[in-house]
């Protein structure tokens, strides 16, 4: 009854507003742009639910589930989240089309976690022309933190370049007479890592004795690994997505090649990389982490991991508990929640960007201890810290300090 009379009132009020074409905010309690109201916040998203990158689609699904949980708990400042997510199949033109539908037809307040570097590149200029936030994009490319040129776009995860620099510095500090072999995926993701890695090596870039690219369409990377082994390298930097990273680790072990191994964060999962590669082959591999690995026993009893498992049991009972993408989706959706809470009753696009660029040492669940979100009007890289870790037994042993690289925010 209360509900329906309220709706009637709202309908009447908006009709009145339309009729006299006056300022439409007579009965509202906040300041809104398109896509927000007293009762709802409309958020748009694209994810590859089909196509070659569909494994990442679970990120979209877990964000959706997280927002369902928020709505069940009463919403954000009393407003329910309406999460509209479309399949773009990882195809840039499809992304443009879907995003234009979201902005022009569905009239979302903002775009959140659109996935993939090529899809986000395709909509980058459009979003900034339309002045609609493109927040916390799901790609680690280093180009998203450009507040001057693209003030409506912001990244999320530590960018590949920074991570590459961190490995380079660690190698220079710890390995004597390093001769480095690199396997990398032949696309902007692989090249971003490689670029950062070389930047980190600086004048020692000639310590890279062999670089071997592979394409996502290759069946295996066996040939590349044989080439890399024959170069006589004693350090191996593995810039590959999970399937290929596992193949590479396994093949190196088969060949009896025992370099110091670094694997990129993209393929750090114990469950989907190290175990398939053979956990014995993976001993001692070094990577940089910022999220807790759900398959790592050392986090099993931490409060946030328990909470996440309860959430998974209730909202995504079919979800694979060893897939880190679910952790990622949960963590980033939590950050979105924080930003929207911080906006209070001023749900305008400008204020959302202002709040997103004003996160000071914010803690979100499932990040490693000590890693916090920091942004400012000149720093559009929310996460820039990682911690190095080494596989020991079936889990990671963190070592050293939390690292970040200032050079990456230029």
């Amino acid at each position: 009854m209360l509900q329906s009379s309220r709706r009637l009132f709202l309908a009447g009020a908006s009709a009145l507003g339309l009729a006299i074409a006056a300022t439409p905010a007579l009965a509202q309690k906040g300041k809104y742009d398109e896509g927000a109201s007293d009762t709802e916040i409309k958020i748009g998203n694209t994810n590859p639910y089909s196509g070659p990158a569909s494994a990442y689609g679970v990120i979209g699904k877990s964000i959706d589930a997280y927002f369902k949980k928020i709505n069940d708990d009463g919403g954000i400042n009393g407003r329910k989240i309406n999460f509209v997510t479309y399949d773009d199949g990882y195809s840039p033109p499809k992304t443009v089309e879907m995003v234009r539908k979201l902005v022009e037809q569905d009239k979302v307040l903002l775009l959140f976690q659109t996935l993939g570097t090529p899809p986000n590149t395709a909509i980058w200029q459009y979003m900034n022309d339309a002045k609609v936030p493109q927040l916390f994009v799901a790609t680690g490319a280093s180009k998203w933190g450009d507040p001057k040129g693209h003030p409506w776009t912001m990244g999320f995860q530590p960018d590949y370049r920074t991570e590459g620099i961190i490995y380079a510095k660690h190698i220079l500090e710890t390995v004597k007479d390093a001769k480095i072999a690199v396997l990398y995926q032949n696309d902007d993701y692989g090249k971003d890592y490689l670029g950062g890695f070389k930047e980190g090596l600086g004048k020692d870039a000639n310590k890279i004795v062999k670089e071997e690219p592979y394409n996502v369409t290759d069946p295996t990377v066996d040939n590349q690994i044989i080439q890399l082994k024959n170069s006589g390298a004693n350090v191996f930097f593995n810039i590959a997505t999970p399937k290929f990273a596992a193949q590479a680790i396994k093949k190196a072990a088969e060949l009896g090649w025992k370099p110091v191994q670094y694997v990129n964060n993209v393929s750090s999962s114990v469950g989907s990389v190290m175990k398939p590669a053979g956990i014995d082959n993976a001993q001692g591999i070094i990577t940089a982490l910022y999220l807790k690995d759900p398959t790592d026993p050392q986090w099993a009893n931490s409060a946030d991991m328990k909470e996440w498992k309860a959430f998974m049991a209730k909202y995504m009972p079919q979800g694979n508990l060893s897939d880190g993408s679910y952790v990622y989706g949960y963590a980033v959706a939590h950050l979105m929640e924080i930003v929207l809470k911080q906006c209070g009753n001023e749900l305008t696009r400008a204020n959302i960007m202002k709040q997103a660029a004003n996160l000071k040492s914010v803690e979100i669940p499932l990040l490693l201890p000590g890693i916090k979100v920091n942004t400012s009007p000149t720093d559009f890289y929310p996460l820039q810290s990682v911690q190095l870790a080494r596989i020991k037994g079936e889990s990671y042993e963190l070592f050293g300090k939390v690292l970040s690289n200032e050079a990456a925010s230029n």
Binding site: Y49, S50, P93, P118, T121, A122, Q125, N215
Partner: protein, 364 residues
């Protein structure tokens, strides 16, 4: 328009050669009217009318339908009218897009000025590919073109071509805006441009098929041996048709690139070629209106499949997720089952049925 002919062996059959004959003038007029309606709306601002009667997004959709219609037309010319199967027309689409994009991005050409170059490039590319493909027939040709579709995204990523193609990063293009301060939104302007390109292409194809050359193409499809006996140079005709087909699809690709202001290898996956093939079959083989229906189908089906899958999952509370591709597949099976000659053929059949029942009730 439909003429009944009696062939040598005494079998009477409806001639369906010309651009889907049996297709009355009314349907053509309807299609033209439908295409022109948005033009009228787009022209409203010129006379001081409201600018956004049809939303920009709708204009994008309409432009896309036309672009896909052109692409399907190119394929239809080759497969429907000349009987050569291609599973790789996405490759020519990509080639057209990249030629236009490279000229715009590296040499700052206006987008529309690139179209003649695109046409020439794709014609030559198609012709050259058509030459060796002549030795292949049926399934083998289909496989050869299929490999082309697989190879193109890889070629675009090739290291030594990166200077031209932009590699995996692709190329960003400037926005196409109406010149001389004309009061069109970019989407309205794009729609007008696309239409202005599409109409002569369809007109050209229609006249081509209605000519001596067109009859030769269809003769090669139906009775290659008889065609050769009649003095038709089969290999020349086949290679030229391949060239023309690639040219038309390439122009569609160039327009598509202009619309999205971005090209990348990921934009032209294998599925694109299959999509064109599906559009052609669903629209109607060997039919010009069929190409238009095919283009509309390609653009519409995926959107609807997605939203239908979504609403089914949420209203029925099914224990499993319904994937959009399931809906797509069901729609495809139903269409092919109910209209084996495509939408164009289905409409023609429906009209015949209606005419027959009308006549019957008139005489009784």
């Amino acid at each position: 328009m439909a003429t009944t002919t009696t062939t040598a062996n005494g079998v009477t059959r409806k001639q369906t050669s010309r651009f889907g004959a049996g297709f009355s003038r009314n349907v053509w007029l309807l299609l033209i009217a439908l295409a022109l309606l948005p033009v009228v709306v787009a022209l409203l601002p010129l006379v001081g009318g409201p600018a956004e009667v049809i939303s920009s997004y709708t204009f994008l959709q309409l432009s896309l339908m036309i672009v896909y219609s052109i692409a399907v037309l190119g394929l239809n010319l080759l497969t429907g009218f000349n009987g050569q199967i291609s599973l790789g027309h996405g490759a020519f689409f990509a080639a057209g897009a990249y030629v236009a994009a490279a000229l715009v991005a590296h040499h700052h050409w206006p987008h529309m000025v690139t179209l003649p170059v695109v046409a020439l490039f794709c014609f030559v590319l198609g012709y050259l590919f058509g030459l060796p493909a002549l030795r292949l027939e049926g399934h083998y040709l289909a496989l050869a073109t299929f490999s082309l579709a697989i190879a193109v995204p890889q070629i675009l990523k090739y290291r030594h071509l990166e200077g031209v193609t932009g590699g995996v990063q692709g190329l960003n293009l400037p926005k196409i805006v109406a010149p001389w301060g004309l009061p069109f939104t970019p989407d309205q302007w794009m729609y007008l441009l696309v239409l202005v390109v599409a109409v002569p292409i369809f007109w050209f194809t229609r006249n081509l098929l209605d000519s001596r050359t067109g009859r030769a193409l269809m003769a090669i499809r139906d009775q290659p041996m008889a065609a050769a006996t009649m003095g038709i140079n089969i290999s020349q005709y086949k290679a030229i048709t391949f060239g023309l087909s690639a040219m038309i699809t390439g122009i569609a690709g160039a327009l598509h690139a202009g619309m999205f202001r971005f090209v990348a290898p990921d934009s032209y996956p294998l599925e694109l070629s299959i999509t064109f093939l599906v559009g052609m079959v669903v629209g109607g083989l060997a039919s010009l209106p069929g190409a238009i229906f095919g283009g509309i189908f390609v653009q519409v089906i995926e959107k609807y499949a997605d939203s239908i899958a979504r609403s089914l999952s949420s209203t029925l509370h099914l224990p499993i997720d319904i994937e959009p591709w399931t809906i797509y597949g069901i729609a495809l099976i139903l269409l092919v089952y109910l209209m084996p000659t495509g939408i164009a053929g289905g409409i023609a059949r429906l009209r015949r049925l209606m005419n027959n029942t009308g006549r019957r009730s008139g005489t009784s």
